[in-house]
């Protein structure tokens, strides 16, 4: 809703400041199996609209429908370099709740569940609660979450959406 309407619901709204959507080839038609070009395009659109860089984003929910999907997502979004850096980020604790870039503090799709149509809404709810400091025991404590990102893909990455959220 518009910002002035949001203010009628709450004194502490979260604003969508960037959004991107892209579609891409079927898996077998892609030049690469280790990234999702549609997600890269969607992220680029969202970053440009929001006028922020990947390093400005504090936390993110990404569509980890399979283990490899989170590794690919955090590279596609520009948080970590594609390859070893992205592949080892979780193991090295960089993406945990007290890491430098908390990813999927909700548990992600593979942990909290993936009810397909509701998955994206659940991701946004997590971002909303985290940014307002209302995430309870899952709350990221050691940073001011003024900027967060949500990443979602459909099928095997033939479509992708990315939103960037700001708490003003």
């Amino acid at each position: 809703v518009a910002e002035e309407i949001a203010k009628s619901f709450t004194d502490n709204p979260i604003c969508i400041i960037g959004t991107g959507q892209a579609s891409g080839h079927n898996l077998h038609d892609r030049d690469t199996l280790t990234s999702i070009p549609a997600a890269q395009f969607a992220a680029q659109q969202a970053y440009e609209m929001a006028e922020v860089e990947p390093q400005d984003i504090k936390i993110a929910e990404v569509h980890d429908c399979f283990t490899i999907a989170e590794v690919m997502a955090i590279a596609d979004l520009g948080f970590f370099k594609e390859g070893k850096e992205a592949a080892t980020a979780a193991g090295e604790g960089k993406t945990t709740r007290d890491g430098i870039k908390p990813i999927n503090v909700s548990g992600g799709l593979k942990c909290k569940g993936h009810p397909v149509g509701a998955t994206g809404a659940a991701q946004v709810v997590e971002i909303f609660q985290q940014m307002r400091g209302e995430a309870g025991q899952r709350q990221v404590m050691n940073m001011d979450i003024n900027l967060a990102l949500n990443h979602n893909i459909g099928a095997h990455g033939t479509t992708a959406v990315v939103q960037i959220f700001e708490r003003r």
């Binding site: 080839h25 079927n26 898996l27 077998h28 038609d29 199996l33």
Partner: protein, 144 residues
């Protein structure tokens, strides 16, 4: 063959006749497998059907122990896994399919680049409605 729409339904009908058919863009000559009604490269609507040779090579694969329902119904499980792969046909385009005739017990011995030929396998399809899921359908596969 212009009257046959360039859809997955048409592609499936050709599979029933054991034909591997692609759509070819008459403007830029790009081949699309499965067929596309609009060329993703040049956006032309001028397509024609072409039959492919069925020869190709393996470009990526995985061996699956816990498959979707139609594969479980076809008898695949952890003790009897199957290979799924991406095949590049000799005319150029790529397609995903089950790969037959490889040693699924030893995936480390399956080689990228292995020559393959098209095969056609009948099994049930995936559907929320059980009765519809039981209906047999012809699927594309590739065999060593």
């Amino acid at each position: 063959m212009k009257e046959i729409p360039f859809t997955i339904a048409s592609f499936d009908n050709f599979l029933k006749e054991k034909k591997l058919m692609a759509s070819k863009c008459q403007q830029c000559s790009a081949l699309w497998l499965p067929p596309r009604p609009i060329c993703p490269t040049c956006k032309s609507h001028q397509m024609e059907w072409v039959e492919l040779s069925g020869r190709g090579k393996l470009v990526a694969f995985t061996v699956i122990g816990v498959g979707p329902m139609p594969m479980i119904d076809a008898g695949y499980n952890r003790d009897n896994p199957y290979c799924a792969g991406i095949v590049e046909v000799e005319e150029g385009p790529r397609i995903s399919a089950q790969i037959l005739g490889v040693d699924v017990a030893r995936p480390e011995n399956i080689r990228i680049g292995t020559p393959l030929t098209a095969d056609f396998v009948e099994r049930g399809s995936w559907h929320f409605v059980d009765e519809l899921a039981k209906m047999k359908k012809m699927y594309l596969a590739f065999r060593v």
